[in-house]
Subunit: 517 residues, 2 copies
C-alpha cells in the first residue's frame, strides 16, 4: 500500500467519508487510492470554490469535517475565499492540497508556488507532509486540529509522499481531548454582573449556543433576568422557527447596531466575539457597544457552550422549568399579489418552508426581511456566509444537502453572489440534491449602490454604473441553470413565485427559481 | 482631492487606462474616483478570476499593465490563480486590492485577512500603502515594478488612504530605467559554443524573442548554423503563421521532450528558463535536457532579447540578408467530413483563421494539433495559459479583445477549463467583444484520464470516474452562453462546424461554438 492509501484509511477511520474534490495530475495516486475505497463519497466540483464551500456547508450541518481535494497552489487559491468563510464560521474542514513530488520543487516547474504561504491566511492549521511515513501522523493531527477547537486545516500532500510505500496502521482512530471544563468562577462573576445590571444585559449567542437546546436555556435566562439575546450579523448556523427562542440579529448598519446596543451595560459572549462594524466609515466608530459597556466571555468557541449557559442559569437561581418566550403564529399580513418584490419572496419562503428545512441565505440585501420572518416559519436551520466573501451560497447549499439527505435545502441567493460559484449548480444536478435555489434577480450589486451613498456619492456616473450594475446584458438564470442540468423557471409575479415554490418544494432534486425583483 | 484621485492620476499619467474590476465596499472611494475619470475604461468581471485573467490577456497583447480592482483578501484570493498564470507569463499587471481602513484592522472584522500573505506567492512585488501621502510614490513604484522587468505587482489600498486628503501631483509620469545593455562577452562565448557544436545547438525562444522580428533573426541563425529553434511547452505569446519562422514546441510528455532534446549539446535560452518536466513521475527525470548538455543564457527576461539575437547573429558572421525557412502552403490534407473530432476542429480553425487574429489556446488535450498547424495559418498571435492553472482562457481572450479592438480573438477552450471562469462570457457580451469561443466538449478531464494511465491505473472505478468525468449531466454550453448574453450554437459534424465558424468569424461581437467531440 502507498501513502495515499494510508491517508484514506486515516480519514475513513475517523468518520471523514465525504471528499469534495477537483483533482489534478499531482493527485492521481490519491485519486487511485480513493477509487479503492467505495465507502468514501467523492463529490466533484467544477471549480474549487464549490469544493471548499460545499465542505463548509457539510461541516455546518454535521459538526464534522469533510475532506477536500485541491490541486497545487492555484487550486488551493481558487478555494481560499470559501475557506475564509469557513474559518470565520469556525467549522471543521480538512483540505488536502496535492503538490509536486518534493524533489521536483527546486526545478520551479510552471505549477510550483508557495502553498504554505497561500494556505496560512485562511487556515487555522497547516502542515506539509514530510514523506510516506509522515502521512498517518499528519492526517491524524489534521483531524485533531480540525475539531479541537473546530477550524480549517490544510494538509499539503507531495506526490512522492502519496506514491511512496507505506505500512498499514494498527490504529488510525484519533482520540480527541475532552471539551474543557466550565470555568465556574467566571460563571459566578458573570451571574453577579447580570444581577447588578437588571434589564441592561445582552448575550451574543453563536456556534453551538445557537442550537435549539442552548437557545432554550438562553431564553430561560432572558425570561427570568431580562437579559436580551442577540446573534452576530452573519450567522454560521442557527436553529430557528416556531417554538424556538429567537435572538435578535445585530444589524449591519453601524447606527442601527449602536442604537440596539446602546442601553447594554454588560454584553456576555457565548461562543462569540465582540461585535464590530463590518467596515469602517469616515467619522464612525468601529466598536458597536458604547464605551463603558463591559464585554465578558461566558464560554469561548470550542468550549461546551450549552453547559456554560446551563451553569449560568443555575447560578442565577433560574429553574430548568422556567418558561421561555417563543414566536408562535405568523404575523397577520396580507398575501402579496402582483409584481414580485424582495419582501414578497421572503414572506412566501417563510410561509411555505417545509418542516426541518435548511435555509442558506446569501441574498445579501434582498432577503433582509427573511431573518425576522424566519422566527415564525416551520422549525429549520438557518445559515449565512460568515466571512463576507460572496460566492458561498450555492456551494454551501450543495454541501448541506450532501450532509442531510431527506431534508429540503432552500438557498436564498443574490444574483451577484450567485455568479461567483455558479458552477455549484452542476454538482447539485450530478448528485441529485434536494436544493431549491431562489435567485433574487435585481441585476445590480445593490449593497454597493447603498455603500456609494454611504460614502456621499448620490449621483453615479458611467464608470461607477458599469462596475455596480449587472445589466446589459441581463443574466438569464433559467438558461444558466439548464446549462448545468438544473431545471429552472422565472417568476416576476407573486402568484407565479408561489406556484413555483409549491412545485419545487414538493418534488425531489434541484430546482432554480429566478425571482425577478 | 483624495488619495483615490491621486491613484487614478498616477495610473492615467502612465498610460494605465484600463481597469478590470470587481469592487466591494472598502473600494467605494476608489470607484467614486474612477467615476470622475471617464478616460479610464472600467471593465466589470463577475468573478475576480475573470478580472485578473483579462488583465493577463491585455498585458500579453500590449506589453503594458492594466490595473485590476479587487476587494480585500477573498477578492484577491479569487484572482490569484490567473495572477499565477500572469506571473509565469511574466507580463506586467497592477493589482489594486482594497482593504479595511488601517485603524479598523485590529478589530478583526469578518473580511479581515492577511492580504500581504495571500498576494506574495503570486506577485513579483507587493506593497501596502501607508497613508494618503504614500499613494503617489507607491503607485509610481508599482508601475515601475510592473515593467522593469515585466511582472505582477500588488498594491494594497487601505480605505482610509483612499478617502484621506491628498495633494495633486506635479509630475505623475514615471521614467523607466533603460533596458540593460547586451552582455557582449556572453554573446561571444555563446557564439563560440555554437561554432563548436555544429548541428547540436538548440535555442529556446520566449517572451519578446517570440515576436515576428526576433523570430526572423533566430531563423537566420538557425538557417546558417543549423541551430534548432524551440519554444517552451506553455507559450505566453508567439507570433505565428505563414511567412514567419516557426519554432518547435517542446512536448509535454517527458519521454517525447527528452527524445527531442537528446542530441542537443548546447541549449541557448533567450528570455526563457531551462525546460523542465511539468510534473514528476516515479522513476522519470525532471530535467528535459540530457546530462552534459550545456544550458546557457543569451539574454534574460527584461533584457533586449531581439538585440541580443541580432548581436549573436552578427557575432556568428551571419548576414542580415540571410534567408530563413518559413512555412508557406498548408499541408495537403483532405477536408474532414462527418462526425467532428478534435483534430478536425484544429484543422478547420487553422484554415479559416482571419489575418491578424489572436488565438487563446486553453483546449489542453483537445487542440494539441492546432499548434503545429498554426505555422501554416494566416499570421496571428498565439497565447496559452502559462502557469498550468486552468481557467485562464475565457478571461485571457476577453482581455486580449479589449486590448486589440478590430482584431478577431479565437478562444480554443476545453470544457473542464472553461467552466472555471465561465463568467467571463458575460463580460464579452457586456463589452461586445469580437471573441469566438470554441469549446471542445469532450465531457471529461481528458488530461487526467491520461495521467491516471501514467501512474499505472488502466481500469478506473466509480470514485475516480466521478472525479474525472464531466458527464451526468452533460454541460449545455449553448444554454450557458445564452444565459450570459452570448449567442451560441452546437456542432457535432465537421460541416456544421465549418458553417458556424464562417458565420462567427465574419460577424462582430462574441459567439460561442460548442464542438461536441
Amino acid at each position: 500500500m502507498n501513502g495515499a492509501d494510508v491517508l484514506c484509511d486515516v480519514l475513513l477511520a475517523n468518520g471523514v467519508n465525504v471528499c469534495f474534490a477537483n483533482p489534478g495530475t499531482s493527485e492521481m495516486h490519491f485519486v487511485a487510492a480513493l477509487d479503492r475505497k467505495p465507502q468514501m463519497r467523492c463529490v466533484l466540483g467544477l471549480f474549487e470554490g464549490v469544493v471548499t464551500g460545499a465542505a463548509d456547508g457539510y461541516a455546518r450541518m454535521t459538526d464534522r469535517p469533510a475532506a477536500t481535494l485541491l490541486h497545487t497552489g492555484p487550486g488551493l487559491a481558487n478555494g481560499l475565499a470559501n475557506m475564509h468563510n469557513a474559518r470565520r464560521a469556525r467549522v471543521p474542514m480538512i483540505n488536502i492540497v496535492g503538490d509536486h513530488a518534493s524533489y521536483h520543487l527546486p526545478l520551479d516547474a510552471p505549477l510550483t508556488s508557495d502553498i504554505e504561504g497561500l494556505a496560512a491566511p485562511m487556515s487555522n492549521w497547516v502542515h506539509r507532509i514530510a514523506g510516506p511515513a509522515d502521512i498517518a501522523p499528519a492526517a491524524q493531527a489534521a483531524f485533531r486540529a480540525s475539531l479541537t477547537p473546530p477550524g480549517v486545516t490544510t494538509l499539503i500532500l507531495p506526490a512522492d509522499a502519496a506514491w511512496g510505500d507505506a505500512s498499514p496502521l494498527r490504529s488510525a482512530k484519533v482520540v480527541l481531548a475532552p471539551t474543557p471544563a466550565i470555568d465556574m468562577d467566571g460563571v459566578r462573576k458573570i451571574a453577579e454582573a447580570v444581577r447588578a445590571a437588571p434589564g441592561r444585559v445582552g448575550m451574543v449567542l453563536r456556534g453551538l449556543a445557537a442550537r435549539e437546546g442552548a437557545l432554550e436555556i438562553a431564553g430561560q435566562i432572558s425570561a427570568a433576568s431580562g437579559a436580551r439575546l442577540f446573534s452576530e450579523v452573519l450567522i454560521a448556523r442557527m436553529q430557528r422557527g416556531r417554538g424556538r427562542v429567537a435572538p435578535t440579529r445585530i444589524p449591519y448598519p453601524i447606527d442601527a447596531a449602536r442604537t440596539l446596543l446602546d442601553d447594554v451595560d454588560v454584553l456576555i459572549l457565548v461562543g462569540a466575539k465582540e461585535p464590530v462594524a463590518f467596515f469602517a466609515y469616515p467619522g464612525k466608530p468601529g466598536r458597536l457597544v458604547r464605551d463603558g459597556c463591559a464585554v465578558v466571555t461566558l464560554a469561548a468557541h470550542g468550549e461546551d457552550l450549552k453547559a456554560a449557559l446551563a451553569a449560568l442559569r443555575d447560578e442565577l437561581g433560574i429553574k430548568p422549568s422556567q418558561p421561555v418566550s417563543v414566536a408562535s403564529a405568523f404575523p397577520d399580513e396580507p398575501t402579496p399579489r402582483g409584481r414580485l418584490t424582495d419582501d414578497a419572496v421572503a414572506l412566501s419562503v417563510a410561509r411555505k418552508l417545509p418542516e426541518n428545512a435548511i435555509v442558506c441565505d446569501e441574498a445579501v440585501t434582498s432577503a433582509r426581511r427573511y431573518f425576522a420572518l424566519s422566527a415564525f416559519a416551520a422549525p429549520h436551520d438557518y445559515m449565512m456566509g460568515t466571512g463576507g466573501s460572496i460566492g458561498g451560497g450555492i456551494p454551501m447549499a450543495t454541501g448541506a444537502a450532501i450532509a442531510c439527505p431527506g431534508r429540503k435545502v432552500v438557498n436564498l441567493e443574490a444574483d451577484g453572489s450567485g455568479m461567483y460559484t455558479v458552477q455549484g449548480l452542476w454538482t447539485q444536478a450530478r448528485e441529485k440534491l434536494d436544493v431549491v435555489t431562489i435567485v433574487f434577480s435585481n441585476r445590480n450589486y445593490a449593497i454597493l449602490h447603498g455603500e456609494m451613498r454611504n460614502v456621499g456619492v448620490n449621483a453615479i456616473g458611467e464608470n461607477a454604473r458599469r462596475m455596480l450594475d449587472l445589466d446589459q446584458p441581463a443574466l438569464d438564470w433559467v438558461s444558466l441553470a439548464n446549462g448545468m442540468g438544473v431545471e429552472a423557471a422565472r417568476a416576476d409575479t407573486c402568484e407565479r413565485l408561489d406556484a413555483l415554490l409549491d412545485s419545487a418544494l414538493s418534488r425531489p432534486g434541484p430546482f432554480l427559481i429566478e425571482a425577478v425583483i
